[in-house]
Amino acid sequence: MRDDRTISDAKTFALRIWRGVREWCGDAAYERYVVSHAKHSCGAVLLNREEFYLEQLQKRYSRVSRCC
């Protein structure tokens, strides 16, 4: 019983780390956008994955994004 809980806790922890890494590197950005669009879009067109990726890059590299 205790072992099961330990395994379950370890799985949850690993899943959180995995989610964190995906969020940090931008891998999960599109999924976030889709959820946000469903909540707040007010009828705006939903971008597909490729369009969203390109738009994000344009924005990110139009301002100071990396420091010295």
Partner: protein
Amino acid sequence: MKFLAAAAWIAVALGGAVALGKIALYRGEAISATWFVVAAVCCYLVAYRLYSAFIAAKLLALDDTRATPAERLDDGRDFVPTNKWVLFGHHFAAIAGPGPLVGPTLAAQFGYLPGTLWLIAGCAFAGCVQDFIILFCSIRRDGKTLGEMARDEVSKRGGFIAQIAVLAIMVILLGVVALVIVNALKSSPWATFTLAMTIPIALLLGLYLRFLRPGRVLEASVIGVALVMFAVVAGQWVADSPAWAHVFTFSGVALAFILMAYGFAASALPVWLLLAPRDYLSAFIKAGAIFSLAAGILIVRPEVHMPALTKFIDGTGPVFAGKIFPFCFITIACGAISGFHSLISSGTTPKMIQREGHARFIGYGAMLLESFVGVMAMVAACAMPPGVYFAINSPPAVVGATPEIATATISSWGHHYQVDAPTMATLAHSVGEQSLFNRIGGAPSLAVGMAQIFSNTIGGEKLLSIWYHFAIMFEALFILTVLDAGTRVGRFMVQELGSRVWKPFGRTSWLPGVVISSALIVGAWGYFLYQGVVDPLGGINSLWPLFGISNQLLAAVALVVATTILLKMGKLRWIWVTLGPMAWLVIITMTASWQKIFDPSPRMGFLSAAKGMAVQIAAGKVPAAKLADTQRLIFNQRLDAVVTAVLATMVLVLLVEALMQWAAILSKRREAVLHESPYVATAWTAEAEGD
């Protein structure tokens, strides 16, 4: 329970005090790096627990009931509520550049003590404070930039000055970091091949992410990192093959022009093709290398051989000229305080923060971690024998052109600095290089230090050359990322400024505008790079202080803005929190600017260096073949003097504007109008936001 917590914090504080005392007072031959780690970590913990909490509660009154811009304006694109740990990672990846690695490595010429103390105290009382408060101010203003806040809260002129200062600093920064790469790669086919390979790898990833698997950053980065690691190993085969080694061996001047061509291409090409995939690669390798260095230092616990203070605190150092005051505080910029961070704190981060309370962890905390990177760089640089450190970092014009003369000069400085030519030849051979003399700029000596720590952890002597080139690749890769991302942002700034004269120039998709603005920005930093490459003193002597001065001047601008906002918030009682570091930065930058322009020593003062060369020409002591070169050097010295004077003047103008406004507010002649967004209560619960 409360008693136990208090006892634990007292133990941490005492641990920090003992470790600091040890590194400050120890005068033996070598001291364990463990003391540096303990001193830094304990001081960071105490600073975070006490000082940042004080700022959060008394000064800023962070309010978790107030909806942040990420909540109110959530669109999944610009404004994205983000978990605080993930945002900490984003923010740290954005602020951590080559500065905290190179600056402490160069400042090691004063000994380990001054730089280490400034890294720890500077970040706790200045750098973290700036990052934290500017982040808070930007959150309260829907993510406005530093320039916009300067315009709204100080004056219109203040906003314009901030904009021009950012562009000028960007140009100097790019020129200097490019010089660091050139000095690391010149005459090194292994390092040049490895870095060159990152370009086709980045192009491959760009195509993969654009056409095959759009936006799948993680899997593309894993493939890319594996390919880069293979390139590091393959570089040895290239270096061992005379024909291929010849192909990848370049002089400093040739590398400078290659880098300019690269910067132009990265700025003008579509961002998805080269710039973005390189940034992904760089972010993963940067995180991995910094983590590995920390682990390596903890496992190996190397001994620091550099004296606590060297005789070069008097300003006669071979790495760069200048006394400990103010040049220790100018040379170590980013690890203690960096004006550039204020652009990140008022950029993406405030648009992604979930709660105001997270600003303390992200703004103050990430800067503490950056400072720790600086302390690790200091340990890596000081762990090698001091004679070796100076042999790598000293220009031939100062110590002599041949290995025998250079080592004899360095050894004559005292028993700490003993080094000989065979030792240097053996070291160069074991790291896979022809020579390690005259490798100024900090990157090669840091790579030697890192490689020794890594190889003592894994692989031993056999892997020293692989680890050295891994370290060089790591430094060069993320310097290139700064170079291409900075060139592109600089291009947008030039287009924005140009559009004030002629509107169509501002259209970022108009090809002639793109080409002209890219050429202008590359030409500007390329000029500084070229003058550094041909400088007989190696360029770092004049350009790194110029970069440090400009970066710290930008920090002064950020702290002027922060102080103005705090005054308007009615926090006069606590105004010393920003006023203190601001005054310190104004003092060190103005002193350094004055000395760099007017000092009578030709190695130190730009104008006296120019005058010295002009006198030599007038006396007919310069051969006809070198006349044009000498005249160009004179022009460069005068240009550096003008740039320094213009930057210092701009900051003084902003300071005077702010002082006038502070006086008007304090004497009630002017109403204190804050430009904050109105209060909106949060609709989130801790559970909903994933806390």
